[in-house]
């Protein structure tokens, strides 16, 4: 899954074709079409986890993938809007008009699928910054550390989030870089600079530990999962914290440290 072309590299211009019914194939097509136009789209969410994690197809962790979620390091939303229109997607006009500086939403009515695109940064319960340099680490998805964080930062986790996290952690050890390992120093550093993110991720570690018991994972797999969660928990506590983190830590849980994204009725 390592990038061999590079986000700004030039692959041959793909031919325009109808929207594909297979979500993963369609995601890869979108990424390639974007790259051909100098745009860097990377997949995140459940489908991105499945592309990296064979365990996501394990009978106890398998799930549906009704939507495609992408991130763009490029803030030029108009270029993404033009691309999606060209590729046959219907924009959610009202939503994109009001939120297009940070989020875009498109529909594929034929396959009853919607495409969410985070523009410039990932902003949900917490904010995870994007950098073009990090976007070049993988050809199709956000790096594993960011994939893990986008799931771990969720305050109101649902069943699918826990399954995705279990799959991701089962198939990837923590390491010092991003080559099919979860870059622990990078992940821990982001958390060490943002007390709110650190707090939620710390709580999520425990949640995944608690809920993973409900899945009938084989003993060895369960052990692997628990060990990796322990590694993450230790790194979160041991990584030196920034001044900003320490200042926020003094306030603690007395002030809400997260945002709660709202459901959007999408027509």
């Amino acid at each position: 899954m390592r990038n061999v072309v590079g986000a700004t590299g030039r692959s041959p211009l793909p031919s325009l074709m109808p929207i594909l019914s297979d979500a993963q194939e369609e995601a890869m097509r979108l990424i390639a079409e974007a790259a051909a136009r100098g745009l860097t789209l990377r997949l995140l969410g459940g489908l991105a986890v499945r592309m990296h994690s064979p365990s996501a197809t394990h009978r106890v962790l398998a799930r549906q993938y009704p939507d495609l979620d992408f991130a763009s390091a490029d803030k030029r939303a108009y270029k993404i809007e033009a691309l999606m229109a060209e590729l046959g997607y219907e924009p959610h006009k009202t939503f994109n008009l009001l939120n297009g500086d940070h989020r875009l939403l498109f529909f594929d009515p034929a396959h009853e699928r919607q495409v969410d695109i985070f523009v410039g940064k990932f902003h949900m319960c917490h904010t995870i910054p994007f950098s073009l340099q990090r976007f070049t680490l993988d050809l199709f998805t956000l790096p594993l550390a960011e994939l893990l964080l986008t799931k771990m930062q969720i305050v109101q986790m649902n069943e699918k989030d826990v399954r995705d996290l279990c799959a991701l952690l089962l198939d990837h050890p923590f390491g010092e870089d991003d080559t099919e390992t979860i870059n622990l120093p990078h992940l821990a550093k982001l958390c060490a600079d943002d007390w709110g993110l650190w707090k939620t991720v710390s709580l999520s570690v425990q949640k995944v530990r608690d809920f993973s018991d409900a899945y009938e994972l084989e003993g060895e797999k369960k052990l692997t999962l628990v060990e990796r969660l322990n590694v993450l928990r230790a790194a979160l506590h041991e990584t030196p914290k920034s001044l900003r983190w320490k200042a926020r830590d003094a306030i603690g849980e007395r002030v809400q440290w997260y945002e709660l994204p709202e459901e959007v009725k999408r027509g």
Binding site: G45, P66, D67, D69, R76, A77, Y78, E81, H92, K93, T94, F95, L97, L98, N99, G100, D101, H102, R103, Q114, D116, H123, M124, V155, Q156, M157, N158, E159, V162, L203, Q206, K207, D210, F211, E259, L260, P261, E262, E263, V264, K265, R266, G267
Partner: protein, 551 residues
């Protein structure tokens, strides 16, 4: 936060651009004491009802408006606010005509009014303190300078809207804290000083900065007396107090001004949060107004302040031929308060901080309106292009152009007083009040005509003696609006000058009636034209109005 619960979430959610606190600041600035408040209260020198009781009683009544709008927002938190509610509850034609006149066309008239406030609380006092007397007096009294400020206002507003909602919120928050810090200092000066110091300071500073002749204090009192200044700070009969309100609501009728933006506010379907945001803005502003004018009375004296205002406005309106002692310089109360010191640096810093009340608020002139234009365009009543943005800057250029270009034309009419256009100030409030009446009637009917929508909403549980709260509040506010409209339009006591006064001494303002009539006619023409055009395209707009717009 539960550690043992998993949640149900259908799709990736959205963190909306504005927090409840951002919406509170927008509401707080929309009933802006320093701009709208000082401006209109200065014109109210000829009323028999006390200012403070009028402020408090009208504030209490306007709480009913807050309940109505908080309820409507919670039921349908959509960009476009009044337009969406009225068109879905009362019907497309009425909804469109009332919404576009009150949220779009009449804002053209607000452009010169915002500019008038900008020149008097920013350019004139700051240039004066910088000892640029000629420049200060040019901005204060020259029509071309006034028009220049109209253009600058439009440019400034365009820029801050183009920066997007999040940047707007950050800028607004900065202005909120700095502006309030400035007001606190002004209040402290008023609290710790006395009338003797003010008199001495006025004589020194008004002469130095604006070339006022010696004896300006006494001369102002005499000029104000001659102009007929009578408005008391306290007291007055209940009737007299109510008669002051059609003027005063120019300032405090707008805690709901963010209503069209609530599609972009977090937790907008939470009735209590919406209610608290707007209600606290109204309560805080009312209290601030009461405290400030009590402090003015202590040091400047209410008598001097009212007479200075009477001298200024009676000359500006042409009722008096002799120029006021301070010339064309508006008696800006923060500036008068800072005259108790002769330290120009301190004066400059505090007056600059006070100007944040304008800069944090200025966007309100067009921002809310753009959402109404978008909503009408999404319903296909306006060309789709007006709901598009310039891709690189994400500026809604067409929606802004529809505000700015006519706004500058109306500004020219107002600034150069073509056909007595400068007499139309209160028409800016009347037309919006008509729009609010439409939304209020929609709110009254909502529980009965849109029963399913209402029952499924978070406001269904709020009742007064078995009657839906939104209906009760709606009736109270509707009665208030009908009272205001009666006073403005028929003006039986010859006080407001924007209608056809039934008082034989009253003003029959043909320009005002024609201007407002043309706006309603224009709205009807656009609606009928759009409906016919779409019908030819095979689009039935009546079906559009049966659907609640998507978020």
């Amino acid at each position: 936060m539960s550690e043992s619960t998993l949640f149900l979430r259908k799709a990736t959610g959205l963190v909306r651009s504005w927090s409840v606190f951002d919406a509170f600041i927008y509401a707080f600035f929309s009933i802006n004491l320093v701009t709208l408040g000082f401006y209109i209260i200065s014109q109210m020198y000829f009323f028999e009802g006390g200012l403070i009781p009028a402020l408090v009683i009208s504030g209490i009544i306007i709480l009913a408006e807050v309940v109505v709008y908080a309820g409507l927002i919670a039921v349908m938190p959509r960009a476009g606010g009044d337009y969406v509610w009225q068109s879905r509850i009362l019907g497309g034609g009425l909804g469109f005509v009332l919404a576009v006149t009150g949220w779009w066309f009449i804002l053209w008239l607000w452009t010169p009014l915002y500019a008038d406030m900008l020149r008097h609380i920013f350019f004139v006092p700051l240039l004066g303190v910088l000892s640029l007397k000629d420049a200060a007096l040019w901005f204060a009294g020259d029509a071309n300078a006034f028009f220049l400020v109209c253009v600058l206002t439009a440019v400034f507003v365009t820029i801050i809207i183009a920066l997007g909602m999040k940047t707007y919120a950050r800028m607004q928050k900065f202005c909120f804290w700095v502006g309030n810090a400035g007001l606190l200092v002004v209040c402290l000066f008023l609290l710790l000083s006395n009338n003797d110091a003010f008199r001495a300071g006025l004589e020194a500073n008004a002469t130095k900065y604006f070339g006022a002749p010696p004896g300006v204090y006494e001369a102002t009192l005499a000029a104000g007396e001659a102009a007929g200044a009578i408005t008391p700070l306290m007291g007055g009969s209940l009737t007299a107090i109510f008669l002051a309100m059609p003027y005063l609501v120019f300032f405090n009728l707008w805690p709901n001004w963010g209503a069209t933006l609530y599609g972009e506010v977090k937790g907008a379907d939470d009735f209590r949060r919406n209610l608290q945001g707007m209600a606290w803005a109204l309560i805080a502003t009312t209290l601030l107004g009461v405290i400030f004018f009590l402090l003015v009375n202590k040091t400047i004296t209410w008598d001097f302040y009212t007479k200075a205002n009477a001298a200024y406005w009676s000359y500006r309106w042409g009722f008096s031929e002799s120029a006021p002692p301070m010339g064309s310089v508006w008696p800006y109360p923060a500036m008068l308060a800072m005259f108790v010191t002769t330290n120009p640096f301190l004066q400059f810093v505090v007056l600059l901080a006070m100007s944040m009340w304008f800069f944090g608020w200025a966007g309100t002139v067009f921002l809310s309106s753009t959402r109404v234009i978008f909503a009408a365009a999404f319903d296909r009543l306006l060309p789709e292009a007006v709901a598009t943005i310039e891709p690189r800057t994400r500026t809604p250029i067409w929606a802004l152009a529809l505000m700015i270009v006519p706004g500058l034309i109306v500004s020219a009419l107002y600034v150069y007083n073509v056909a007595n256009f400068a007499s139309l100030t209160l028409a800016s409030t009347l037309v919006i009040a008509v729009t609010y009446l439409g939304s209020t009637v929609a709110a009254i009917l909502l529980p009965y005509t849109k029963k399913d929508l209402y029952e499924a909403s978070p406001i269904a549980k709020y009742k007064v003696a078995g009657v839906p709260l939104i209906t009760v509040a709606g009736v109270i506010f509707a009665l208030f609006l009908v009272f205001l409209l009666y006073q403005w339009l028929l003006d039986p006591n010859a006080l407001y000058g924007i209608g056809y006064s039934i008082n034989e001494n009253g003003y029959k303002n043909g320009t005002s009636l024609v201007f407002m009539g043309v706006m309603y006619l224009l709205a009807v023409i656009i609606y009928v034209g759009a409906k016919m055009y779409r019908k030819n395209q095979g689009v039935d707009l009546d079906l559009v109005y049966k659907e609640i717009p998507v978020e």
